[in-house]
């Protein structure tokens, strides 16, 4: 079974530039999460999709971050404009959906803003 795919693996941009991350969850997984993990901290939930609908985006900085999941499969997370404090690993995870299901994580995208 193929895992969660993310790209790119690494990205370096200057502050105020824009960047986009892509995630392809495990086939058939209804729930998709985007997390931000700053070095030395736990993953922080940014947004959660159930199929192509948003069920939680309470921690997403909506003035600069946006995410979509068209057709309920792939998802993209965008930052525009980036700030220095956005430097982190962005993790995508998926589950089959519903309660009591384990999350499968992608390798993550390491973003450095200079």
């Amino acid at each position: 079974e193929a895992g969660v795919a993310q790209s790119p693996r690494y990205k370096i941009i200057e502050k105020r530039q824009s960047v986009a991350f892509w995630c392809n969850p495990i086939s058939g997984h209804a729930t998709l999460y985007w997390y931000q993990q700053i070095l030395g901290q736990g993953p922080k939930l940014l947004i959660q999709f159930q199929n192509n609908g948003v069920v939680d985006d309470s921690q997403l900085p909506k003035d600069r971050f946006s995410a979509e999941r068209l057709k309920g499969v792939d998802s993209t997370l965008k930052i525009q404009p980036a700030k220095l404090e956005d430097s982190a690993v962005y993790l995508c995870a998926s589950t089959t959906g519903g309660l009591n299901t384990e999350a499968f994580f992608g390798q993550g995208t390491r973003l450095t803003v200079v």
């Binding site: 729930t31 999460y33 997390y35 901290q41 736990g42 993953p43 922080k44 939930l45 959660q48 159930q50 069920v55 939680d56 309470s58 921690q59 993790l91 995870a93 589950t95 959906g97 519903g98 309660l99 009591n100 299901t101 384990e102 999350a103 499968f104 994580f105 992608g106 390798q107 993550g108």
Partner: protein, 113 residues
Amino acid sequence: GQQVMQIPQYQHVQEGEDFTTYCNSSTTLSNIQWYKQRPGGHPVFLIQLVKSGEVKKQKRLTFQFGEAKKNSSLHITATQTTDVGTYFCAGPPRNTGFQKLVFGTGTRLLVSP
């Protein structure tokens, strides 16, 4: 919002010693999951507990879910160098209706041979 704290933040043990990390949520959870993240890697699912007071074992690892479903613990007996990594608990608040996975602050374990 929901906060999940773990203690200790960091622990360094000699191989063969035991290790315990504690997880405390500010809200009652519907279930608790534990993940392990190796240095440079991504979180990998270890186990899930659902019932109040539940205890589960995986070889040298023992997991416990508190009676009030607000705390949990992970105990490793006789640590090995392969246990190195950061251990996270995660759980959705009760009655959210969906699996909102809020992660704890993590406990980083270092094991010296």
